[in-house]
Amino acid sequence: MSQTATHAEHFDATASKIGMWLFIFTELLLFGGLFIVYSVIRFSNQVAFHLAAEELSVSMGAVNTVLLLISSMTIAMSVSSVQFGNKKLTLFLISITILIGLVFLVNKYFEWSTKIEHGLYPGSSVLQGFGNGDTLFFGLYFFMTGLHALHIVAGISILAWVLKRVADDNIHAGHFVHLENGALYWHLVDVIWIFLFPLFYLIS
């Protein structure tokens, strides 16, 4: 009996992490494809993209960039603290990361609301008056930042599950690959934003 139980406990952390990385690659190529679409459309609508990008608030984008970078650090630290066996600090660091993710979404809500109030949303009459370039810019803006925001929601859900597992002592210094994988996913979300920020907010 005990032998069967020990056998069930066997767990291959390397395989688990390789699986997570493979999933991350599909995500990178998904957004990579969108960046290629952005580049090609930008190339043929340079003036419109230049003017449309000035509608976006650099400070709002910068605040969200800083938030995500800090949250990336806190979740990376939690992977160290769990190995040091410091459960309290691990729980604290994961909670802070989740909290920052929620603040990011609140900022996104206000940012999108302002755009929509100004009539800048896909299919709006205001945008149709501006022409194709602006329509394409805001179409890509809403699609790419929206898809990224969905990833933030997914990341928060994964980290909430990881938080519960740490609290229940299912994740500890001897078995923490789920926290590592959750952290990897959160870093991926950060990396995507590192590219979205300059492409939409900075280059104008």
Binding site: W21, F25, F43, L202
Partner: protein, 95 residues
């Protein structure tokens, strides 16, 4: 059973250094693109984003500390992505 990260626990201060570097690079990219650089602004912004991504991959995502297999996989995917970009742009510029 062995856990790849087990031998090397990254000290907290490394993460703080990396965060400070990332924030500095963000500030620099905002500063640089605030000048009217034209097409150069795109290259500058992408260069800063690439440096930042490299730091996140190597330190936050542990590629520097883990077994080399992960880093090799990332490089292969990066190569595939660059190949797709090159082919797309060749196709786009010669039609």
């Amino acid at each position: 059973m062995s856990n790849p990260g087990e031998n090397h626990i990254v000290p907290y201060r490394i993460y703080i250094y990396i965060l400070v570097t990332l924030l500095t690079l963000t500030g620099l990219s905002i500063l640089v693109t605030s000048f009217e650089l034209g097409p150069l602004a795109v290259s500058a912004a992408l260069l800063f984003a690439t440096i930042k991504t490299t730091l996140v991959f190597m330190y936050f995502m542990h590629l520097k500390f883990d077994q080399p297999v992960y880093a090799i996989m990332v490089l292969v995917v990066l190569f595939v992505f660059i190949a797709v970009i090159v082919v797309t742009f060749l196709d786009y510029s010669f039609r």
